[in-house]
């Protein structure tokens, strides 16, 4: 994106360099037009990660920091080498662990860094190479309610040029018509949605009626190297026109992505306006919408023919996987993986994303460790304490160590619900925590 601001540097493993890096982060945030609060949070994130990683990284190996200021967020990526990396302080439970003992939390710096950022993720790039990416979001104005057009008239067509005002209006319309769990989070701040589209992070098709009124929206974004997530179709037309508008959106969407490099399209937030026959059901998750506990269908379709794949599988979910693949008529070679006998790392690391508006927490495993079962249980408890009911966990079947965690998950009250073909590096199993457990 042309207006991205980028700053990159490599620093020696010396704490004296953390302060100038933090200064660069602050300057970047200010130049990118972020407010004082976001700038400070970004500065804090960068400084604390720098200080911690300088301590963890291998001696004589530089720490690389790539900072980017986009319209909608600030991002810092820390690339480093570390042997036997342990980052327990980044777990969402780290704060309460210290508090329960009446002591200062361990790894206070990591804790501060994780708390200051809106989200972070850890990429293990093989061997002793790691990258932590932390992001701080721009604050946007809250949603202003809008009304759907009262009368629409055919023909319905796709809008070829989408200006930010149209995009913001469409996102606001979707929020006014559909339950929160069916809408992407960015719809709550429609200007952010428009910025994400401008940056290419989100793509969409928008439908108009004969008078040029916005009557529909369908959005998609990257899920993995092989898969796209879509949301919608969101239709703002009268009942008799809904099918026509939905078909315009779905055909436009599929034609737009048909020759992209993606193999599959996945939908967690497909609306009731989805036309039968376009997608296949993968299963459902508990939605727990404000109006009650709905079922959240998960659907998919291939964009090209499936050539098969090998997946790692723990014996405890082999039946589930075999039945799923048989039902989907999807060829997979299932490779057995046993539960880990010994775990070299003491502390595991789970990534946690919380979304109160959608009553949703998502867990992803970043590092295995001896405390994985306890970490899972503590994470669930911490999430429940925050009043969030829906907890999902994502397991990538391309990684044996992830697949081997099935028993830990079951013991912590999770059940495998759906398989997302190509949802990660390989197929992804989505587990949901059973609220009654």
């Amino acid at each position: 994106m042309p207006d991205d601001l980028c700053v990159s540097m490599e620093i020696p493993p010396d704490t004296a360099f953390a302060c100038p890096v933090a200064g660069a982060a602050q300057t970047l945030a200010q130049r990118a037009g972020f407010g004082q609060r976001e700038s400070y949070r970004f500065q804090l994130t960068v400084e604390e990660f720098c200080l911690c990683l300088i301590g963890l990284a291998q001696a004589d190996e530089p720490l690389r920091i790539d900072m980017t200021g986009k319209r909608y967020l600030l991002r810092a990526a820390f690339s480093f080498k570390a042997a036997d990396l342990s980052l327990g302080g980044l777990n969402s439970t780290a704060c309460s662990v210290g508090r329960e003992n009446g002591e200062m939390p361990r790894d206070l710096g990591l804790l501060l860094a994780a708390q200051a950022a809106d989200r972070f993720r850890l990429d293990h790039r093989g061997g002793d190479q790691f990258c932590i990416v932390a992001e701080v979001d721009r604050r946007y104005p809250a949603l202003t309610p809008v009304h759907a057009p009262e009368q629409t008239r055919p023909p319905y067509r796709l809008a070829l040029a989408l200006d930010p005002a149209r995009l913001s209006q469409a996102a606001a319309l979707a929020m006014s018509v559909y339950p929160a769990w069916q809408c992407p989070g960015s719809f709550r701040t429609p200007e952010k949605f428009a910025d994400l589209v401008a940056d290419g992070q989100v793509a969409c098709v928008c439908a108009l009626d004969a008078a040029g009124q916005t009557v529909g929206l369908l959005t998609w974004n990257r899920c993995s190297d092989q898969a796209l997530y879509f949301s919608g179709p969101f239709v703002f037309a009268a009942k008799q026109a809904r099918g026509d508008v939905a078909r315009v959106l779905l055909d436009g969407f599929l034609e737009a992505v048909a020759r992209e490099h993606y193999a599959i399209v996945l939908g967690f937030r497909s609306s009731d306006d989805l036309i039968p026959g376009y997608f296949e059901p993968l299963g459902s998750l508990q939605a727990c919408a404000e109006t009650g506990c709905d079922r959240q269908p998960v659907v998919f379709r291939h964009l090209r023919e499936d050539t098969g794949m090998a997946v790692w599988c723990s014996p405890s979910i082999e039946n589930f996987l075999r039945q799923t693949y048989e039902r989907l008529a999807m060829p997979r070679d299932i490779l057995p993986v046993e539960a880990p006998a010994g775990r070299p790392r003491r502390e595991s690391l789970l990534g946690t994303l919380l979304d109160r508006h959608r009553d949703l927490a998502e867990l992803r495993p970043f590092l295995d460790g001896q405390d994985m079962a306890a970490n899972l249980a503590a994470s669930v408890a911490a999430i429940r304490d925050k009043g969030i009911h829906r907890i999902l966990y994502y397991m990538d079947l391309s990684r044996p160590w992830e697949a081997a965690l099935a028993d830990d998950l079951m013991q912590s009250g999770f059940s495998p619900k759906v398989v997302l073909p190509h949802g990660g590096q390989g197929d992804m199993v989505v587990w949901q925590h059973d609220q009654d457990s």
């Binding site: 055909d251 020759r259 026959g277 296949e280 379709r301 964009l303 090209r304 499936d306 008529a329 060829p331």
Partner: protein, 369 residues
């Protein structure tokens, strides 16, 4: 490696590689099928004409040690005799895909564009994309290439217009008058590739013969292939024909020695013995199409059946799901999402046992909720 990857042009980095289907035994194992009818690539299941079969059988193994004729000398002589042209007007490639690449390399550079349809043979768009050449795609009108819209899409940057005639996958085609009007409107502002891969499946006097058209329009190149009608898809032999000047330019960007000896020999023999083969193939295709028309009519399904040895049908389920279900029953079809026809499949016409297997499997899958 990371640094090397960072220097790759964006148009290559973002390009989707084509994933060919796996060998039959692998697919049969994956899908648990005891047999497999391939109805996905518009191959001629009758195989090659008799003389080509004999030539293939007579190929001496020792010849494998010798490089082929680097510019398919004998085959070009045979083509020249067949079409009454100079051998130098022909360029033979490893299938028409290679020839498409040679044409784009020859005529297009950075900032240039090609024009073609949005729902046509995908390779024009693919080759242009991974060559860094802009592709301007023109929507079909009533399942046919829209000449006026294609003319309107031509700009000063347009170097090549690809016209698939008959069009794959819809089977629609421009008649003589339509093509002549198009060429007059274009007024030689760009090269026109007439891709006639399925030309031999037509027997309509109103179908424009590219070999004749190019004599009056030196900006026309004609593509044909031995992969479809001649049953030599396994040998990958395609060719283009055009003015001496245009072909000379393309030859400069073309890889010599790309067509193997046996393919050249088989194609040359096929040309000498094609009348009966073409007639038999057309008869087989007509019978298969008739049977499928009846099937789709009975099921109440929309279909597009034009020229060529294929039919496209709109399915009441995801085409990719249907593909997998049919694979479990030993029938392979082409999904059409990649052609920008979501929920359509394309079925190649074949002999009765294959078409019966398709009909049975297709009906069974649609009947099963």
């Amino acid at each position: 490696m990371t640094r090397i990857l960072e220097r790759i042009p964006d148009y290559v980095r973002h390009f989707e590689r084509y994933v060919p289907s796996r060998p039959d035994p692998v697919l049969m194992r994956q899908y648990g099928a005891s047999y497999l009818y391939r109805l996905n690539n518009n191959e001629n299941t009758l195989g090659p004409p008799p003389l080509a079969r004999e030539a293939i059988a007579a190929f001496p193994a020792e010849r494998a040690a010798v490089y082929p004729s680097g510019d398919a000398y004998d085959l070009r002589q045979a083509l020249a005799t067949r079409f009454g042209k100079s051998p130098d007007q022909f360029l033979v490639g490893n299938g028409s895909c290679e020839v498409i690449g040679s044409v784009i390399r020859a005529f297009c550079g950075p900032g240039d564009a090609i024009v073609t349809a949005d729902k046509t043979f995908a390779v024009y768009e693919w080759v242009a994309k991974f060559s860094g050449v802009e592709t301007r795609l023109v929507p079909l009108t009533k399942q046919a290439l829209a000449p006026a819209a294609m003319l309107a899409a031509v700009t000063e940057n347009t170097r090549v217009v690809f016209v698939c005639n008959p069009n794959n996958p819809t089977g629609s085609w421009w008649n003589r008058a339509t093509l002549e009007r198009f060429l007059a409107g274009l007024d030689s502002r760009a090269l026109v590739v007439l891709d006639e891969a399925y030309r031999e499946y037509l027997d309509d006097p109103d179908f424009p013969d590219g070999m004749e058209i190019m004599e009056r329009h030196d900006n026309v190149l004609v593509f044909r292939t031995f992969s479809k009608m001649y049953g030599l898809a396994g040998f990958r032999v395609g060719y283009l024909c055009g003015s001496l000047e245009a072909v000379d330019i393309v030859r400069r960007t073309h890889i010599a020695y790309s067509v193997n000896s046996l393919g050249q020999i088989a194609a040359t023999a096929a040309l000498a013995d094609d009348a009966g083969h073409i007639a038999a193939t057309r008869q087989m295709v007509a019978a298969a199409k008739s049977a499928l028309h009846d099937l789709f009519d009975t099921l109440g399904l929309e279909y597009v059946s034009g020229a060529g040895n294929f039919i496209m049908v709109r399915t009441p389920m995801s085409d990719t799901l249907l593909y997998r279900k049919l694979m479990q029953k030993g029938v392979m079809v082409r999904t059409m999402t990649g052609f920008r026809y979501p929920n359509w499949i394309r079925v190649s016409m074949a002999e009765a046992p294959a078409m019966e297997a398709f009909a049975k499997a297709f009906t069974s899958v649609l009947d099963t909720p």
